[in-house]
Symmetry: C2
Subunit: 150 residues, 2 copies
């Protein structure tokens, strides 16, 4: 297998096509990672979630990392890693941005509304939260079969 860097255009192609990523946040240097559904546009990722540990942590430390990957097999995969900052959209000044986020999420994926309809047993209330990730950097790698290999 060869591993090559992919271009920003190729990163964007993956982000537009794959609506699920793994989001890492951190508090007091303890990392935490969960699957999320997102909608991408240049510079931003829009995410809809329910209130939980990750939201509480990102409110205290907005530094995040998102991994989006597509793994066909061990010699054929693509991964994009995004470093960014958490920005919650539930404040009044973000009303228009929140509507935009909702529109984008509806457009890109039917996953976005899952948290509203979900029901965690023994949990009494579910508080929905919209947030945006402001992208600081983005890079991607691709593993491809080595033509020299047998």
């Amino acid at each position: 297998m060869r591993i090559i860097k992919i271009s920003h255009d190729e990163c964007r192609e993956l982000l537009n096509r794959v609506p699920v990523g793994r989001l890492a946040c951190s508090l007091e240097n303890q990392p935490y990672v969960i699957p999320i559904c997102f909608a991408y546009e240049p510079g931003y990722l829009y995410v809809f979630s329910t209130l939980g540990q990750k939201i509480k942590w990102m409110r205290q430390n907005p530094k995040v990392c998102l991994l989006v990957d597509e793994i066909a097999n061990r010699c054929n995969w693509t991964s994009v890693i995004i470093i960014g900052r958490y920005c919650e959209l539930d404040e009044p000044q973000y009303t228009a941005e929140k509507k935009h986020a909702r529109d984008r999420l509806e457009q890109y994926s039917d996953w976005w509304y899952t948290p509203v309809t979900e029901r965690l047993e023994h949990t009494l209330s579910i508080e929905p939260v919209f947030f945006r990730i402001d992208i600081t950097s983005m890079s991607g790698l691709r593993g491809i079969p080595d033509p020299e290999a047998g």
Copy 2:
């Protein structure tokens, strides 16, 4: 969709079956997440990797989080989240443990040797690293279709 907590036995079943996870580490509260291949046994995860940012970071901050998930669709998925500590196996006192790690990785997955054969263009050397994650806590959730839904 309903979301239910799964038992430790069900977590272990997923960890024994799915050899790929997403590992988050953190330095100065900047999280970082990458895909890894692992072999699980009670209390431990064994991982084989190449030297890179994640290894350098985990040497400085051993707190890690591993997500292993299986997503069939938005109403049918399982995820296991492990909190643990990084333990590098390249020191002389871990020679036996390192052999054990290698045996386990060979047994559970053919992914483990990928980093040895890979070649990142423009990178001159690849240094292999074996490490173990000592599991501090493990929990799992499952999303299942709601029988009441249409």
